[in-house]
Amino acid sequence: MARVVVNVPAEAKRGEVIEIRTLAGHPMETGFRRTQLGELIPRDIIRSLVCTYNGVEVFRADFHPAMAANPLLTFTTVAAESGTLEFRWTGDNGFSATQTAAIKVL
């Protein structure tokens, strides 16, 4: 299981724009590098990140090989109601990781 980290504020005012930071541990192998023997290392990257807020998709991103290893992404969303945010990363070779974070809206 891959190590993923998300940073969501625990509390927010209703209507406030909150910043979400996400980080996934992944080498993001580009498919352009070679081993010392000259063999091409096959591509192995995370393809997408989807963020849902109480089941509604609020943010989505497609990654490409030009993303740095351990892809970091920060974005914003409006704190609408208390609930959970779910983050799902999917990638090559059946990679999949999920993480949830609870938020309390005052």
Partner: protein
């Protein structure tokens, strides 16, 4: 004693030996970038403005380049940023990231880290809900390239 002619000849040889890259690598990369942008934009016009791409102008290590994109937009249901796309000019594949936003994003701002292969231009394109495209480009200098194995110029 190297004559001027000899020096020029040396230069020619060096250029040939530079790498086993296709001779028209720059044209190929430019075409790849244009094709990638076309795929996103279609036939629409991309105008400069409204987008602020923040990349350090001098990059020590091209393997992790922090970059952030901010788009001026009220982010309402009627007028918001639909997507932000980031491209680099000199990478073997120009596409870095596409982020899809909506009115629930509140603000059109993303931060990430990219690999940049060589000194060149980084471009961010924002797709608005009204179908218009806006862009910002920054020229960056890379001292240590990402994907060195590709034998970049």
């Amino acid at each position: 004693m190297i004559t001027r002619r000899g020096f020029l000849l040396l230069g020619l040889v060096a250029t040939g030996a530079r790498a086993q890259l296709p001779a028209n690598i720059e044209a190929i990369r430019k075409a790849a970038l244009e094709e990638a942008v076309r795929k996103v934009v279609g036939t629409a016009q991309v105008r400069p403005g409204r987008v602020k791409l923040d990349v350090p102008p001098l990059i020590d290590n091209g393997n992790t380049v922090p970059l952030s994109v901010e788009v001026q937009s009220p982010m309402t249901a009627a007028d918001h940023v639909k997507a932000i796309h980031v491209f680099t000019e000199k990478n073997p594949q120009p596409y870095v990231l596409s982020a899809y936003l909506g009115p629930r994003s509140g603000r059109a701002r993303i931060t990430t880290r990219a690999r940049i292969a060589d000194t060149g231009v980084v471009t961010a394109i924002a797709q608005m809900s009204d179908g218009s495209f806006w862009s910002d480009s920054v020229k960056v200098i890379v001292t240590l390239s990402a994907c060195l194995e590709e034998g970049l110029i």
